[in-house]
Symmetry: C2
Subunit: 245 residues, 2 copies
């Protein structure tokens, strides 16, 4: 059996998220359907991780095994033929039989877009979090600096998430501004459930002055979801990159 | 009567264009409806010019006269309350009674976005012209240089357009590339019907090698729509700026 790794971009607005679910149309279901249409057989699709409803991807990774003999160009073109235009296979590669898009991932990068201006541009509907009042990007940067590093991120995890350890290495957390857009970029060896969105919510509270950069350390130490700020909405979040060893 | 000048952004995808028409919902109809809801009275709205179905605006200008007494912040917020989110009033200014958004315009700038990569990003659906094969941007730039200046643009006007003179001063026509996006920017004292889209169509033919930069002069001299290339699709076009004296 060949093992095929796909790089996939999608606008998550119309989907119930990556993972197949009973109550909505998922991105994975669309890709599974396209694989079945192209190859004539059902396959199991292994995504690098789930994305929630409304979350976007610039380069999600997923692999599947197949006996289909077409080359990677044909797989890319064939899947795109069957997929809706808001889901695109960007590229395809053949990988070793034991490769798994989830378990072999060494790090991931997410970006989060905030549209920080009184009036939301029509071109950012469903693609950014609109915050009308000016955010203090300097304070957000100092707060981000307090979060970087290998830490227990229990306070930045949706409560009730079933994980053995909440320790993750957040190797980079940056905040940059270009005109109305504030972009948060987060790279880690792994992310807890809702981790980026809770981090962004907490950075935004800091940018608003509801928290200070000095509050971040005690929030981390609390190891309690209630200590951090509310979760930022899904529509500003983009899975940007998955790195393999 | 007060004379109010609005700056308006819209995603033109869902509209039959700027101008009110019988066979579809126009941007102007939506704004007229919002003005009537806010002020309680119908007004006549004067746009800086029409945009076709699917064409976008980053900063369209339009004025209307009203006895409504609210200040500009209240007008902006009030209109946005009644407008759909894909049409936004960005700002509002009170202008002299004889000001007209169309007749007082000194120049306009349009940009046109081409997504030049084999696979169209989901984030550019309806927002760029997708051209799969690599375009020669150097050749497009040389062709643009041949078009700049005060010239008769009859060859770059939809045939049958009722104008006295097709002479316009195309003061700037630039082509730039950033990753997959090729952006054409055109500034003139006025534009003929479909002029930017026919210019872009001709630049793209040049970028494909179907025309050379040397072909531009004879195309202009022909003063015949049939001499230029096909019209580029509406979805890549954005009205970027209207300048008043």
């Amino acid at each position: 059996m060949r093992n095929i790794l796909l790089t996939i971009a999608y606008d998550g607005t119309e989907y119930c998220g990556w993972q197949e679910q009973l109550n909505g149309i998922s991105v994975a279901a669309k890709i599974n359907g396209a694989i079945e249409s192209l190859t004539g057989k059902r396959s199991k699709l292994y995504g690098s991780g789930r994305t929630d409803s409304g979350v976007h991807a610039l380069a999600q990774k997923a692999n599947f095994k197949t006996e289909f003999s077409g080359d990677c160009d044909r797989i890319t073109a064939g899947l795109n033929f069957y997929l809706p235009e808001d889901i695109r296979v960007l590229s395809c590669a053949e990988v070793s039989e034991d490769f798994n898009a989830r378990f072999n991932a060494k790090s991931k990068t997410y970006i989060y877009k905030i549209y920080n201006s009184p009036i939301l541009s029509p071109f950012y509907i469903n693609r950014a979090w609109h915050i009308k009042y000016p955010l203090n990007v300097g304070a957000m940067r100092r707060a981000a600096w307090e979060m970087e590093g290998e830490r227990d991120f229990s306070s930045f995890m949706a409560s009730g998430s079933p994980v053995k350890s909440a320790v993750r290495n957040l190797s980079r957390l940056s905040v940059s501004r270009s005109a109305e857009i504030i972009e948060v970029s987060a790279t880690a060896n792994g992310f807890l459930y809702n981790m980026v969105r809770i981090i962004v919510g907490t950075l935004v509270y800091t940018g608003m002055g509801k928290l200070t950069p000095e509050d971040i350390k005690p929030i981390l130490q609390a190891q309690n979801r209630a200590a951090a700020a509310p979760t930022a909405p899904a529509r500003g979040l983009y899975l940007k990159e998955v790195v393999y060893g």
